[in-house]
Structures are given as structure tokens and as C-alpha cells.
């Protein structure tokens, strides 16, 4: 289904573009082999020929694409072993797709018909730029994933890893994570502390944001500044300041109230993290409330709902997106926080970042990469489930995906 009727492009037009691309790729291979210029020429000529041949057999597109793919892969493997073979396969896949994408004019397929060639070019350049930025965003994950299978205890791509030798890989860092009581303890602690801290900052923060959004609040700016301050005070200062406060609180809770040391330890970190998460909740929820139609609460009150009902049945569902994203920020703040927990916490309450920090400082251990990989996989799974649920509920409610 396309917006614009497309018609095949002439072979000479296609070859002009693909040969440029081929030449560009050739530059790199050429330089690696010693001569930039030869690489460029060979790449351009090769792609020109390929394009003409491929477009002659337009009707058998699938077969042609497979042939190109395999040819590149084999060529790569013959010249430089497995890793070059994989590079070759990737290049083959790209060029076989690219030739037909240009040749069949598919690039115009889903664009509005009135765009000028310049606009089409800009459209795709822009996409490529965005793609590059997305790659930048997930670069660390791309690095961390393979390194977490490193057979050595360093953050190094060993020669064995680069030549895809199975000896260079191992699952030992994953085993270490699951067998080490330190890692397990810290993982459990993170899972206890972060959600509780989030609940506290979200509930208090949402209430306060609603209060702040009322029209006549005396000293609004000052209050706002105070509530946002945990975000702007440098963390190390906050950490020491809180350390004093919580040492005293801890003494009080243990001595006067008689709670056990462990419980007090958790309370201290939970409260400290809750404070750090509050600015995010305040900011997001206030922002959502700016667009909130106040007449809805009046209407609800008019119809006899008490303030509680109004809040939970009318206001809450509407500001929920803001609350959720604030909660997300608050959760991450606690889950990824290392400075304050190092000061306020003690060994029993050490969280994942604490364990990672000592891991990095005392002995480099790729176990932290394994942990990171596991977290990434879990979060991809969670985000996917959420997205699927959202689509399902959209379908159930009969909404078309927008």
C-alpha cells in the first residue's frame, strides 16, 4: 500500500546512485588493503555492473538478492575469515536491498506525491541522522552485551573474541552474579528500596503538586523552589548533609523506639531516596496539571462526589500519565543512585549501584556488565509487555492505532 504510485527507475539512474554508495564502501576496504583510490574505483565499478545485471532480472528479485547476499558473504569469508564473512553478508544484504529500493523507486512509496526530489533526499538524510543518534543512544548497550560474555576478567575485547572463537566467550560472569551472595543481596535490596521510595515520593509528590496547582497558594514560588531543591543541590553535599541527619534519626529509632538495626537501615535509605525522587514527580505532575480542565472537578463536586471520590475517579485517571512518568524517573533515581547510598547506607542495605561501585573500584569485574545486560533484557521485556498491553486495550476499546 503506497501513497504515491511508483514506477521503476532507469538502470542508469539507479547505477549512478548505487555506484556512489559502492565507491564509498570501497574507500574503507581499499584503505584497509592499502589503496584508497583503487578501493573507490573497484567499489563503484562493481556496483554499477551489479545494478545493471540485477535490474535486467527485475522479475526474479528474490533470487537475485539471495545471490548477491551469498556472493558478498563468500567473498568476505575467503578474504578474511569469519568476521569478514559476516561483514560481507551485511554488506551484501544492504546492497541487494539498496539496488532494488532505488531501482523500483520504493523510496517514494509512502511519501506524499508532491515532494520535490530535494525534499525526498532531505527526508531520508534526516532519517539517517536520527538513526545515527539512536545508535549513539544505545552504543553502551551494544558494547556491554558482548563484553559480558568475556572469558577474561577485564573490559577488553580480546583477540579471541574478535575472531569469534568460542574460547573467548564464557558465561562465568553470569554464574558469578547468580552464585554470589553479595550480588544477590544487593539486587534484592534494590528491589526493596526503589519501589518503596518511589511510592513515597509519588504519593506525597502528587498530593503536593495538586495543592500547588490550585490558584491561590501563598508563597508558591518559594515552596516550589524548596521542593525542587533535592535536584539542584550537588549530590555529594546532599549525601553528607543527609548522613548527619540520618545518623541521628537512626540513633533515635534504634534507641528510643527500639526498631532493629536492619529495619532502621532500610528506612534511612528509603527516605533519602524518596527525597531525591520528589523533584521529578513534582515537575511532571505539575506540568500535567497545567493542562487539566478544572471544571471537571467542579462538575464532579456538583454531581455530589466528595473530594476523595473526585480525586480518585476524575482527577487521578486524567493525570495518571504524568504520575507514571514521574514515578519512572523517581524509580530510576533510586535504582541508579550511588553517592547517597554509599554515605547513608551500610553493608546490609547495599544496593546494586553500591555493589557495582565497589566492583569497579576494588577489582574490575565484568560481572557488572552481566548485571547490566540482565537488567536491559528485563526492561526490554517489561517495556514490550506494556506496549503490547496498550495495543490490546486499544483494540478492545475499538480505537484504531493512531
Amino acid at each position: 500500500m503506497s501513497l504515491t504510485p511508483v514506477e521503476p527507475r532507469s538502470a542508469s539512474f539507479t547505477a549512478g546512485i548505487t555506484s556512489l554508495a559502492g565507491g564509498f564502501a570501497g574507500i574503507f576496504i581499499g584503505t584497509a588493503q592499502g589503496s584508497t583510490f583503487t578501493g573507490f574505483i573497484v567499489g563503484a565499478v562493481l556496483l554499477t555492473i551489479l545494478t545493471y545485471v540485477a535490474l535486467l532480472m527485475r522479475s526474479k528479485e528474490k533470487v537475485v538478492r539471495w545471490i548477491i547476499l551469498l556472493a558478498f558473504g563468500v567473498a568476505g569469508y575467503v578474504t578474511g575469515g569469519i568476521s569478514s564473512g559476516i561483514m560481507g553478508l551485511l554488506m551484501g544484504w544492504f546492497f541487494s536491498w539498496f539496488i532494488f529500493w532505488i531501482g523500483e523507486c520504493r523510496y517514494r512509496g509512502h511519501l506524499v506525491p508532491y515532494l520535490t526530489p530535494g525534499q525526498v533526499l532531505w527526508h531520508y538524510t534526516f532519517r539517517v541522522i536520527c538513526g545515527a543518534i539512536f545508535v549513539f543512544l544505545i552504543t553502551p548497550i551494544l558494547v556491554v552485551l558482548p563484553l559480558s560474555f568475556n572469558a577474561q576478567d577485564f573490559f577488553t575485547f580480546t583477540p579471541e573474541m574478535l575472531s569469534l572463537d568460542p574460547e573467548g566467550y564464557s558465561l562465568k560472569h553470569y554464574r558469578n552474579f547468580f552464585n554470589s551472595s553479595d550480588w544477590q543481596l544487593s539486587f534484592r535490596n534494590s528491589l526493596i528500596i526503589a519501589p518503596i521510595a518511589t511510592v513515597i515520593s509519588v504519593s506525597l509528590g502528587t498530593l503536593a503538586a495538586i495543592g500547588l496547582s490550585q490558584s491561590h497558594v501563598p508563597g508558591r514560588r518559594a515552596i516550589m523552589a524548596i521542593l525542587i531543591s533535592p535536584m539542584i543541590v550537588p549530590l555529594i553535599i546532599s549525601a553528607t548533609g543527609m548522613f548527619f541527619f540520618y545518623s541521628q534519626v537512626g540513633g533515635f529509632l534504634e534507641g528510643t523506639i527500639g526498631l532493629s538495626k536492619t529495619v532502621v537501615g532500610y528506612i534511612k535509605i528509603v527516605l533519602a531516596h524518596a527525597v531525591l525522587g520528589i523533584p521529578f514527580v513534582i515537575i511532571t505532575v505539575t506540568a500535567t496539571l497545567v493542562g487539566f480542565d478544572r471544571s471537571l472537578t467542579r462538575a464532579a463536586a456538583n454531581m455530589g462526589a466528595n473530594p476523595m471520590t473526585t480525586f480518585f475517579r476524575v482527577q487521578m485517571p486524567l493525570i495518571l500519565p504524568g504520575v507514571i512518568s514521574g514515578g519512572l524517573f523517581a524509580f530510576i533515581t533510586s535504582f541508579d543512585e550511588v553517592v547517597v547510598v554509599l554515605f547513608v547506607g551500610s553493608a546490609r542495605q547495599k544496593t546494586l549501584p553500591w555493589q557495582m561501585f565497589t566492583g569497579l573500584r576494588e577489582q574490575i569485574s565484568p560481572t557488572i556488565l552481566a548485571v547490566a545486560t540482565i537488567l536491559v533484557v528485563i526492561s526490554i521485556a517489561l517495556l514490550t509487555v506494556v506496549e503490547l498491553l496498550r495495543r490490546r486495550s486499544e483494540r478492545l476499546r475499538g480505537m484504531s492505532p493512531s
Binding site: 558494547v143 550537588p234 541527619f245 515537575i283 506540568a287 530510576i332
Partner: protein, 423 residues
């Protein structure tokens, strides 16, 4: 209903004058708003503002000298530091009394450490004198001037006494002076020797780097936010996962990953060498300098820029752009005159967030910053955890906080803090 009461004041349904009734309602509304805010406000005030305030108060607090050496401080009041003479026996006797009391309470070395920040060497003077002073019989063991100088020559240095005198008041501006590369000289504040000046450089660098990071975040986030806001929501949500994923990866891991990427034997350099773009002996230096810090921190803070921009751009109607174009605007004019102005609140929100977060960072600069890429927070952390000079750390922190508050205030004036949107 009001037109029936043309003689008296306007009355509400229950018979009270409308004005009073309204103001009561307003008051009740205010009260309710305050009641909603109160729990959180109290919580933040108690668990955050008060502790931080106490911490920052250390930047001027200095009662340790007058508390530990009460007699000496009083005796020293009349001593003229500019005379070049060491104090007389009376002052040394006062010091002997104080020193013995302090050594018995084991606090004499604390004063020594405190004064050592101002003049190196004083720490050991106190340590040595305290050890001896414990055994003195104060009545009969004089004269003390000789004895002190015999313990350590430093006690005969008028500069040592000047330092004690200068820092004997309960409050001091000394830490703030130090934080601005100044020191208490003979005639008021003066510059520190050039080879000790560091903090102004660091403040300037911190501001400069935070700005660079903010700018690169804006440049990278704008296209991404635009494409997220303009794609159909299905694809946008999938791409959103890519934005959120780095968030779930620990800061420490991301920083280490950048190290692996950027170092000279790292992934990027290896690739460039393999491709032949860079000679093997001329690998690029991309880490342990400002570049490395900017790249790593831009990456870490990018989601904080994308999310607010995205939520603002989502509210901009795409029809505006089309309308502008159909009225004859070129692509660029349509974007620059119609779309961009509407997206400014998002840029503002993201920038303030990124800038404030960047200015206080210290773990990432510590790990990838080398010598030229460290921030003022690194020094604050150093003074808190290694040198124990908390007064100086608090002074540096206070200055940083004031800078941030000024920015926050300016932002509130220009954009309004209510317009900050996170998603």
C-alpha cells in the same frame, strides 16, 4: 438573584454577605491547598533542607579555635602580628593551660588539623606539643615560651601565631576566600600564589562544560524528539524504548562502556585503524580529556532532554506546518518561523534540567575526565571524603548552589517553572 437586593450588600444563599462568603471560600481553598502541600513540604524541609543547611553552615563556622584554646585566644587579642615579635610568656602560659586541657580531652590535634588548612605544618606543632603538655605540672614547669620552641621550632614563628590570631573568631570568611582562590593576607584578602589557584578555573570550566553538554544535548535531542513526535504512535513507542533503555543501564556501566569505546586501544580507534582512516601510531585521544567527558555526559543526560522536548512537540499541530507551506513558505521558513518557536518551551525545560544535573555531576568526570575534564564537584567530593576540609567543601558547594539558584531564578523568570515538562 442579585438584582433583588438593591439596597444591602450582596448575600449568598445562606444569608451571609457574598463578599465574606467568597473570601471564606477562598481561605478554605488556600487552606486545602496548603494541607495538600504540607506533608511533602515538611518532609523535604526536615529531611533535606535542614541537613543541607547545617552542612552549608560549616562554610562559615569556626568556633573550634576559640572553644579549644579559650585562654590563648583572649591573651592573643592584644598581640600585634605585624611587630614581627613572637608573643610573650603570658600568651605561651595561656597556651600551655589550653594545650594541657585539650590534650587530656584528646581534642588538641583537631585544632591542629583545622589550622593546618591555613598554614601547613601547624598540625604537627599541636601533635608534638600536646604529647608533652599532658605531663606538665602547670604551676612549676614554666617558662613555657622556651619549652614550646624546644618541642618544635615552629612555635617561634610569628606567622604561626598570626594564623591562630586570624582564625580565632567564631565565624570566618576564610573558607569562602579559599574557594575563590583568595587568602587572608596582612592587608585583607589577597590572591593565593599562582601555583595554588585552582577553584576559579574549575568553576569556569564546570560552567563551560555544562553549557557544552547542554548544547550538544539540544542538537542531538531535537531531531530525535521531532521524529518521535511525528511518527505514528506505534513506531514512536518502539523508538521510545531505545531512548529509555540507556536509562535502565547503570550510570557506572555506561561510563565504563564509554571508556571501552573511546580509549586509544578502544572500539572506535580500533575500527578507524582497521578501516585505515587513522594510522596505528596516531590513534585519536578521545578520553581523559574534555571531549571524553562531554561525550559520556551528553549520552547520559540525553534522555532528560529528549523527553521534555518530545512532550512539547507532541502538542504542536502538524497542520500549522502544512498551512505555512501552502501559504508559500519554504521548508526552512515554515520550520524556523512556525514550528521552532512553539518548541522552545521544550528546549527550555530540557536545557535547565540537563544543565542543573550536569553541573553537579562527579562520578562520570572522575572516571573519564582526566585532568582537563574534571568538575568542581570532584573537588567537593575530595574535600568531603579525603581531606576532611568540610568547611571548604561547604563553601564550594554554597557557591555552586548560588549559581544554580540564579540560573533557576532566571529560568523561572523567562520560561516559568510550570512550563517544565518531563513527559
Amino acid at each position: 438573584m442579585s438584582d433583588t437586593t438593591d439596597t444591602g450588600p450582596v448575600l449568598a444563599a445562606d444569608g451571609t454577605p457574598l463578599k465574606r462568603s467568597l473570601s471564606r471560600a477562598l481561605r478554605r481553598q488556600k487552606m486545602r491547598a496548603l494541607m495538600l502541600i504540607a506533608p511533602l513540604l515538611l518532609f523535604v524541609l526536615l529531611t533535606f533542607i535542614v541537613p543541607i543547611g547545617q552542612m552549608l553552615f560549616r562554610s562559615v563556622e569556626n568556633d573550634i579555635v576559640s572553644r579549644t584554646l579559650p585562654n590563648t585566644v583572649i591573651a592573643l587579642q592584644d598581640w600585634d602580628a605585624d611587630s614581627g615579635q613572637i608573643p610573650d610568656e603570658a600568651i605561651f602560659t595561656a597556651l600551655a593551660i589550653d594545650m594541657q586541657a585539650a590534650a587530656e580531652a584528646k581534642i588538641h590535634t583537631r585544632v591542629g588539623s583545622r589550622l593546618n588548612y591555613e598554614k601547613p605544618g601547624i598540625s604537627s606543632l599541636f601533635r608534638k606539643a600536646g604529647r608533652k603538655a599532658k605531663k606538665w605540672d602547670l604551676e612549676n614547669d614554666g617558662p613555657y615560651q622556651e619549652k614550646f620552641i624546644k618541642i618544635a621550632k615552629g612555635w617561634g614563628d610569628p606567622e604561626v601565631w598570626r594564623t591562630i590570631q586570624t582564625y580565632s573568631s567564631k565565624y570566618t570568611a576564610g573558607y569562602f576566600l579559599n574557594a575563590a582562590d583568595l587568602q587572608n593576607g596582612t592587608e585583607g584578602p589577597e590572591w593565593r600564589p599562582e601555583n595554588e589557584q585552582i577553584y576559579i578555573t574549575l568553576f569556569k570550566r564546570t560552567l563551560f562544560m555544562s553549557m557544552m553538554i547542554t548544547v550538544s544535548c539540544i542538537i542531538l535531542a531535537y531531531p530525535v524528539a521531532w521524529i518521535l513526535a511525528n511518527l505514528p504512535s506505534r513506531s514512536a513507542n518502539l523508538l521510545m524504548i531505545l531512548v529509555l533503555l540507556p536509562f535502565w543501564t547503570s550510570l557506572l556501566v555506561r561510563t565504563s562502556a564509554w571508556k571501552v569505546m573511546l580509549q586509544q586501544q578502544g572500539v572506535i580507534n580500533d575500527t578507524l585503524v582497521w578501516l585505515g582512516l587513522v594510522a596505528d601510531d596516531a590513534r585519536l585521544v578521545m578520553i581523559n580529556n574534555q571531549f571524553g567527558t562531554i561525550v559520556a555526559m551528553t549520552h547520559i543526560l540525553l534522555p532528560f532532554m529528549i523527553l521534555p522536548m518530545y512532550s512539547v512537540m507532541q502538542t504542536i499541530q502538524p497542520t500549522y506546518l502544512r498551512a505555512a507551506k501552502s501559504l508559500g513558505a519554504t521548508n526552512w521558513t515554515a520550520f524556523w518561523r512556525v514550528y521552532f518557536p512553539q518548541s522552545i518551551p521544550g528546549i527550555g525545560a530540557g536545557s535547565i534540567l540537563v544543565f542543573i544535573l550536569a553541573i553537579g555531576y562527579y562520578i562520570t568526570p572522575e572516571l573519564v575526565g582526566g585532568t582537563k575534564g574534571v568538575f568542581i564537584s570532584n573537588r567537593i567530593a575530595f574535600h568531603i571524603s579525603s581531606s576532611l576540609n568540610w568547611g571548604l567543601a561547604a563553601a564550594l558547594g554554597s557557591i555552586l548552589l548560588v549559581v544554580v539558584l540564579i540560573l533557576y531564578w532566571a529560568y523561572d523568570k523567562i520560561v516559568g517553572i510550570d512550563n517544565v515538562k518531563l513527559g
